[in-house]
């Protein structure tokens, strides 16, 4: 039963039938990040098709799902119009839920979390807050120290955050969309 569950769950939650993929490889050929991934997109599709939970778990622990930047090249070129970017979004959420986040990808995940923290407090992105939050999460304290003064002098780094007035509504959006 466990074997069947993830393919049908993907089908109902994401609307993607993984068995439609016939392994032409166009997605991997066009993927800008494929060479940095542990599993290129066409292999991701093949692993899902095996219906083997250990393959699915490998994907949830993979670097691939965090390296995908959702550029949609794969979807654009797929002859079967399989929505791989949506599939990646889904697997990222599952990976967090199952606490299987790939260790090498922790900086990427930290950045996303710091980004949302910033939006949660101000309703809009506050870049100084984002970078401070990211550095606190990753301890990459000295990163990009030389770019900030130039950004500031060009008026690209506001010191004070832009604030949404209805902060209550933003807070309610965040608390009501928690999984």
């Amino acid at each position: 039963m466990e074997k069947e569950s993830y393919i049908s769950e993907i089908r109902s939650k994401v609307g993607v039938n993984v068995n439609r993929c016939y392994q032409c490889g166009k997605c991997s050929a066009g993927c800008a990040l494929a060479e940095d991934m542990d599993y290129p997109p066409s292999l991701v599709m093949r692993m899902l098709q095996t219906n083997d939970i250990s393959n699915y778990n490998s994907l949830l622990q993979s670097e691939t799902i965090w390296l995908c930047v959702s550029c949609q090249n794969c979807l654009t070129r797929c002859p079967m119009e399989i929505d791989i970017p949506q599939l990646m979004d889904y697997m990222r959420e599952k990976s967090i839920e199952k606490k299987s986040i790939n260790k090498k990808s922790s900086q990427i995940v930290s950045f996303h979390k710091a980004f949302l923290d910033s939006v949660k407090f101000t309703g809009r992105l506050y870049e100084i807050g984002l970078v401070a939050g990211y550095k606190a999460r990753t301890l990459n304290l000295l990163q990009d120290m030389n770019i900030a003064p130039k950004m500031f002098s060009k008026g690209k780094l506001p010191i004070l955050p832009e604030m949404v007035e209805d902060k209550k509504q933003i807070a309610s959006i965040f608390s009501n969309t928690k999984k």
Binding site: A32, T76, D89, F115, Q169
Partner: protein, 281 residues
């Protein structure tokens, strides 16, 4: 005339020259772009990577606010925000269950009938037919137009331009006098949201783009997305160090090039804010 405007966070900070040149260009054509009252961040990559419902609810609030302001049409210059807003409206219109859930979270009605225009659609609809008569200083430079990933995708939702070899920016640049060249990286990814978390990847992907532009003798790379612009421009030191070269091709917003062509000053289009300075303008 007046049209709704969603600047998004980048245009208030790292890409303020994009906002400045878009507003100035619109004004030169007697169009007032009016900001949506109390707009919020669209959630960007972070939200859709971590939480699908949040990635729908944040843009949905923006759409609901625009409707509340009585707007029927909004201009969204950031290609990434544009993608999130458009995909959200599409998904909510497709699924009643999702729409009910999100309306409940927001406590606001949503009709889902808003016209959402990216910068090229906006220009096409309101400016293109009047551009040639307005050009006072033709932009006579060799350029390549860089569309990036999100301006023309996903096609079944956006239904705008060609996917693999888009033309809208090229056509427009030719109208203002530019020699818009053919090249290989029109829609290749720049590394997008990895600017901070994986700068090495941005240097590599953006490096390939900048190198092809430079090899073909482009005097400028023309863009319509703040994420593309900041990766190709602000990350130039990392790009050049990856390439072991010293490429100085500037990266300009299409609204800046058009603004200059219709006689706006360098200051009015925020040209000095670019990190890699154009030498010709």
């Amino acid at each position: 005339m007046e049209i709704g405007f969603y600047p998004g966070c980048s245009l208030k900070g790292t890409s303020s020259e994009y906002a400045q040149s878009t507003l100035a260009l619109a004004k030169a054509f007697d169009i007032n772009l009016k900001e949506i009252t109390d707009w919020n961040c669209c959630g960007a990559t972070a939200a859709h990577n971590l939480n699908h419902e949040l990635a729908m609810a944040l843009p949905a609030r923006v759409l609901a606010l625009a409707e509340k302001d009585g707007m029927t049409e909004i201009v969204v210059p950031c290609a990434a925000c544009y993608n999130r807003l458009t995909v959200t409206q599409h998904e909510l219109n497709q699924s009643e269950e999702l729409r009910d859930k999100i309306s409940e979270v927001l406590q606001m009605p949503l009709s889902g009938n808003l016209q959402i225009l990216n910068v090229m659609q906006f220009i096409d609809k309101y400016i293109t037919n009047r551009i040639e008569e307005k050009v006072v200083k033709p932009f006579e430079h060799k350029v390549v137009c860089y569309y990036g990933c999100l301006l023309v995708r996903p096609q079944d939702i956006l239904k705008f331009d060609r996917l693999e070899d888009p033309q809208s920016m090229d056509t427009l640049m030719k109208k203002i006098g530019a020699d818009s060249m053919d090249w290989g990286y029109k829609t290749e990814c720049c590394g997008a949201g990895f600017s901070v978390s994986r700068t090495d990847i941005v240097a590599k992907l953006s490096g390939k783009i900048v190198k092809d532009a430079s090899d073909r003798g482009a005097e400028a790379i023309i863009v319509a997305c703040p994420m593309c612009q900041s990766n190709l421009d602000m990350r130039r030191p990392q790009i050049n160090s990856y390439l072991q070269m010293n490429i100085k091709t500037p990266v300009m917003y299409i609204t800046q090039a058009m603004g200059l062509a219709v006689g706006l000053s360098k200051e009015e289009v925020g040209l000095k804010k670019l990190f890699v300075a154009p030498t010709f303008a």
